[in-house]
Symmetry: C2
Subunit: 434 residues, 2 copies
């Protein structure tokens, strides 16, 4: 086989065989096929697409390119969740201990934030002492002993995906539904997941801007799971406005703590209850969504989830003092409110603009490797559909300098649309794909 022939075949809209894809990806992983050939191939995939069979083959080739975690000795059905990324999405912080508290172990490999959407590890690292880097052995031991573990990539999971993503990022080849689907699913498969709840965000603050493309991605990921003998259910959930109130690392961690203590924002709590229930069902722990919901609500209401959260954070070296007294979490120097210029109904709170403002304050990364500031961020005090009165606070900006406050002021003002006529609260879940 020659790499140039595989590229030409895809350029000419022909279907690649599983053998060709396997050979190409393993050659790339070992450094035998150079970046420039893979970049040309990726552009051909972006423009000519891939069949479901090709996408499954690519997913498996990337999953097999490194170690494959086997969680079967620790968890009968290893269950995982994945969000395609949004603004204010701190769901894992609540759902992981919540599901674990219901008796189903959750061992999750997570990522850091990039661009306008935050990363679970950054939020966890706002807890003094929290260790996001675990060895494979530490990961497995904690999963067995505590029932919940969330960390960064242990060693060598799906290295082909890491390499390919880095290349796509700089070659204009990120926007491809088959490439996005196989990237997500290869990591999940390599990390040992047997059942996966997918949360595909759609809207202004999501990578997928239209329901049609979100649905296409969701269906493709569910199909990949089916063809690789995993279970997957995908939610299509709204990301036009931020999820919950808090956007920013320590602010989001604090909101997760509030939610685990039954005083979180209603939209975010409801999101967590739905995702957690679904995890129990596809993990084989509950027989129906109704049954799962009862179990999950109980674990949240009776403090079992909160206790599991504490055990989890402690196991990864996090300082419980700051978790038990969130005033001790990193805080910004200045807090400043931005108020409604007029009275009326909230028609829009643009999640991407809010996310971008948080990055400008220092909460996120413009590029990989940038440091993040845990204390800064934005609280969003209203939801689309609500009534606001002139001078009501719309946002609280947590920043370190007056200049930073200035920097995001216009962007946040532009993010909000208030009109006299009433606005419908948006649907939160547009659909579920099984």
């Amino acid at each position: 086989m020659r790499a140039v022939d595989i590229i030409a075949k895809k350029r000419d809209k022909q279907e690649l065989t599983a053998q060709e894809i396997e050979w190409f990806i393993q050659g790339f992983t070992r450094g035998e096929i150079p970046d420039y050939q893979v970049a040309a191939w990726a552009m051909a995939v972006v423009l000519n697409g891939m069949t479901n069979e090709e996408t499954v083959a690519l997913t498996l080739a990337m999953a097999r390119s490194g170690e494959m975690l086997d969680l079967s000795l620790v968890a009968p059905t290893a269950v995982d969740k994945h969000s395609t990324g949004g603004v204010g999405d701190k769901t894992t912080l609540v759902v992981a201990p919540l599901v674990a508290a219901c008796g189903l172990p959750v061992g999750k490999i997570s990522g850091r934030g990039l661009g306008f959407s935050g990363g679970t590890l950054d939020k966890l690292e706002s807890i003094r002492g929290f260790r996001a880097n675990l060895t494979r052995e530490q990961f497995l031991r904690q999963l067995a002993e505590v029932g919940v573990v969330v960390c960064g990539q242990t060693a060598d999971l799906a290295p082909a995906d890491g390499k390919l993503y880095a290349l796509r990022d700089v070659t204009g080849t990120v926007r491809s539904i088959p490439l996005i689907a196989s990237s997500i699913m290869s990591k999940k498969i390599a990390a040992g997941a047997r059942a996966i709840v997918l949360d595909v965000k759609v809207g202004l603050g999501a990578f997928m801007k239209t329901l049609a493309e979100a649905e296409e991605l969701a269906k493709l990921m569910v199909e990949i799971a089916r063809q690789t003998e995993r279970k997957a259910v995908a939610y299509l959930s709204d990301m036009n406005q931020p999820l919950g109130v808090a956007v920013g690392n320590a602010l989001e961690l604090r909101e997760a703590i509030d939610t685990l203590q039954n005083r979180g924002p209603r939209d975010f709590e409801e999101h967590c209850l739905e995702i957690a229930s679904r995890m129990l069902v596809i993990g084989g722990q509950s027989s129906s969504m109704e049954a799962a919901r009862l179990v999950v609500e109980q674990a949240l209401r009776n403090g079992a989830a909160w206790q599991k959260f504490l055990a989890w954070i402690e196991a990864q070296g996090g300082d419980l003092e700051v978790v038990l007294d969130p005033q001790k979490l990193p805080r910004s120097e200045i807090q400043r409110e931005i108020c409604a210029p007029v009275s009326g109904y909230v028609h829009r709170i643009d999640a991407e603009k809010v996310g971008t403002a948080a990055v400008l304050l220092g909460a996120g990364r413009a590029k990989k490797g940038d440091a993040v500031d845990y204390g800064v961020g934005i609280e969003v005090h209203h939801k689309v559909g609500e009534v606001v009165h002139k001078s009501d606070p719309l946002f609280t900006v947590h920043a370190n300098t007056e200049a930073d406050i200035q920097k995001v002021g216009d962007l946040l003002s532009e993010a909000v649309v208030i009109r006299e006529e009433p606005a419908e609260p948006p649907v939160h879940f547009y659909g579920v794909i099984e």
Copy 2:
């Protein structure tokens, strides 16, 4: 500007500005934009195309990426020719001294063979002592003093094109009419040409297999010339069967010598007379094709072209002894005839198969840097439309081993189609684009 945005723009079928193309190509030339970004961009160009304006900008950016030869002090209108490559195409060997003998200096940068089509420099190097590598100063001096010079790239002409072509070759991005047109024209412009006769080959033994794509390429190159204030005329010429009789380095050189001595094959002589006449016209030396034809025929018939050839070869160090007695040119160990299996009319002599057979014998290169064998090759004794009788020789194979003769026997037999019904001789020039 960011390279990734330029790639994304082309991916999204938007037109790039001349500034963007210039920045991208100069960054690539200086090694600041890595191969993988250029490979992704090239694939986007292959699949989404380029406008004429983009193609002109790319041509100029590549031409300006290195030195630009200025021939104006030596030749009032520097005239050049370019063939897109065919089997048995030794036209430059005749046309360069022929046009020079008519008083119009010809300074030409030429290439080596790759794949089934041969290269002018390889043919010239079958002359003992011939120097294909000249400095810029040697090139200009010889052009002034002798009136004709043909050599490999002097130093640094259009280095962006060289770099881009090498990358396209291994990334499946060769097949793009805008990229092919800008590659050819950038080198011609950098080499100082003000007027160019283009010979776009079409057919089995050409890179362009259909008249439609050959015409598209020809029109685009003529348009690039117009927009860059050069003159160009393009011929669409048949390359279903080889041009002339000889295929292989020393064999083709010998055929060029025969032609300069008025005993060459008729089809090849006619091809040379037409191209040379057109060069005189667009070079401003003749006022019409009819006038040019008279001058050119005279220079061929009276030996002036042959004398100019000798002066040229001597100036570049070639041993005149072997030119004056072509028996002394490199010869293969074995010559073997392949004869007609039946009587009838020749319907096809597949130029690509003949060219591939010559490469298998060692006359060409499978990949860059391979050595070539000057003595081997194939003589093709018939043209499409001719009558052959059973056992008439169709080919003479010049090889070094019996095994090599075996190796090409089937391929050459397959190259020929003989049928009972008469065959029309093919048109040689399908059209001229001005």
